[in-house]
């Protein structure tokens, strides 16, 4: 298959069109504005609907409406814009509506900077909105994975009737890389017989809502959702291990820092240092068991968690999985500054010195 050079953001939009996205609602914000820009030019030609909304809040609620009518709906934004969408996301989860949300993360808090960051890990994996809910969070670390995941995200959303987030950062959105438009496996999906798109001879109205005012009813609804989340945890968890078979120091990283880590591994291995990379691909569900198993291996002496976040957000999930079995060191850079290959190498070496 022929390789084509694509910019991450434009590839996201094209991937969504190829996945059968019917409706896109968005509002510009750096570093993801090429997503709505591309959609505005190409989605209508493919028979879809593009609306530049008056705000992020409007966009996510348009997604709610379109998804409720059975459409494949999507929105994209960057960190401050995704914060504004949180209310809509919890409503989508509560009303069990499938939708795809792209967050091309930039530095925060607040307006922060337009440069790449990963400070929205908590928001994405813990739910930035109210209530008990989960969203599947896919974290690609190159442009090929991004286009594959965007296409699959629609299927995951439809399968579980749940919002799915593709969490990348400004660098992946802005960079260009060769990709192949290879076919992405389609899932067998249930019919959208719940959609509110006209009664069409049914004996009942379909109602889309997240309100269950009677406590027992709301409690049952939460149990139902929780059972669904358990299914996602069983079926959807993904990760990648690179040179972990004999690794003494394992770097944990996702997205851009994970690919920076690959370069660090080359240097470390060339110097005879047994380093590996554990890369969560789904941030929720987090690959907890796989990381726990790795932590139990005798050859693993310590972990080095690297994120574009200074507080250490994924670090919490790494700690929960490692359960104190091995020491964990942390390298975090935020505000648009990325951790460097050299910093990673230094930290791996100092971690190794400590445990040997």
């Amino acid at each position: 298959m022929e390789k084509e050079l694509w910019k991450g953001n434009e590839a996201i939009a094209e991937a969504a069109i190829r996945a059968g996205c019917d409706c896109f609602f968005g509002y510009p914000i750096t570093p993801q504005s090429e997503v709505p820009e591309y959609m505005s030019a190409h989605l209508p030609k493919a028979g879809g609907v593009f609306v530049q909304s008056e705000s992020e809040l409007a966009a996510i609620n348009m997604v709610y409406g379109a998804a409720g009518a059975g459409m494949r709906a999507m929105t994209s934004s960057s960190s401050p814009g995704v914060s504004l969408k949180q209310e809509g996301i919890t409503y989508l989860a509560g009303a069990e509506l499938p939708a795809v949300i792209i967050n091309c993360m930039r530095g925060g808090p607040g307006l922060g900077t337009i440069q790449p960051a990963q400070g929205d890990y908590y928001q994405a994996t813990r739910g930035g909105g109210n209530g008990d809910y989960r969203t599947v969070v896919l974290a690609p670390s190159n442009v090929q994975e991004t286009v594959d995941f965007v296409q699959e995200a629609f299927d995951i959303a439809d399968q579980y009737r749940n919002p799915v987030m593709v969490l990348c950062d400004g660098l992946i959105g802005q960079m260009m890389e060769p990709i192949e438009w290879h076919p992405v496996k389609k899932r067998a999906l249930p019919p959208k017989d719940w959609a509110a798109c006209g009664r069409k001879g049914r004996d009942h109205h379909n109602i889309i809502t997240s309100i269950f005012i009677a406590a027992e009813e709301c409690s049952d609804h939460n149990d139902h959702l929780t059972a669904k989340y358990a299914e996602m945890e069983k079926n959807e968890v993904r990760w990648e291990e690179v040179q972990c078979e004999d690794a003494e120091i394992v770097i944990t990283a996702y997205g851009t820092p994970a690919r920076i880590a690959l370069t660090a591994l080359d240097t470390l291995r060339a110097e005879g240092i047994k380093a590996g990379l554990f890369r969560p691909i789904t941030l929720w569900p987090f690959p907890e068991k796989a990381l726990h198993t790795l932590a139990e291996q005798d050859h693993v002496k310590a972990f080095v968690d690297v994120e574009m976040s200074t507080t250490g957000q994924m670090l919490d999930d790494v700690r929960l999985a490692v359960e104190g079995r091995k020491p964990i060191r942390y390298l975090g850079r935020a505000g648009g500054v990325m951790p460097t290959v050299e910093e990673m190498i230094d930290l791996v070496k100092s971690a190794l010195k400590e445990v040997k």
Binding site: L171, Q174, M175, M176
Partner: protein, 178 residues
């Protein structure tokens, strides 16, 4: 083989396009490539730049603090990035705009009068093609035929009249270092 290249200049000088051309040509030759632009406030200081990796192995980090080559299209770019070039690396200087010389002795410097050559060829806009030619000839990492084929496909249809101009600029750039 791995080249990590910074191309930097004022907006409009075609630096990002040089990077994109290198990435396109590298991909055409079966290399692994990445192109990452600066899109932040540094652009306002006159150092709009992009980071390009050309490698025969899969590319890990698309960004880097040290690099094998620098293409400096303006003065601020040379002063900002010269120290990041790896020992033994090369610096390509747009010598019509940059009056400073490369100060380090462990680097190979190429001074390319891009604007003057572009003017001679007949269009000031093709200065970046001159620089691309110089880079290709000096590093020998990409085949000139690949670039010329790319220029052919870049200017398809009504833009075809720009093909000879761009190829001429590219060849004149190559001649600067041969």
């Amino acid at each position: 083989m791995k080249k990590e290249i910074i191309i930097s200049g004022f907006g409009g000088q075609g630096g990002l396009a040089i990077g994109k051309n290198l990435a396109e040509a590298g991909m055409a030759e079966g290399l692994n490539v990445t192109w990452a632009p600066s899109y932040g406030p540094e652009m306002r200081g006159g150092t709009a730049n992009c980071s390009v990796v050309l490698s025969d192995k899969p590319v890990g980090s698309p960004v880097f603090a040290r690099f094998t080559e620098l293409i400096a299209l303006n003065e601020p770019s040379l002063s900002k990035f010269e120290e990041g070039v790896l020992p033994g690396g090369s610096v390509f200087v747009n010598s019509d705009v940059v009056t400073d010389r490369v100060s380090r002795s462990d680097l190979t410097a190429y001074y390319i009068p891009c604007a003057k050559i572009a003017e001679e060829v007949g269009n000031p806009k093709v200065g970046n093609m001159v620089m691309l030619g110089a880079y290709v000839a000096a590093t020998k990492i990409l085949k000139p035929e690949t670039i010329e084929a790319m220029i052919q496909s870049m200017f398809a249809g009504p833009k075809a009249k720009f093909i000879p101009l761009n190829i001429e600029a590219f060849r004149r750039g190559m001649a600067c270092v041969q």
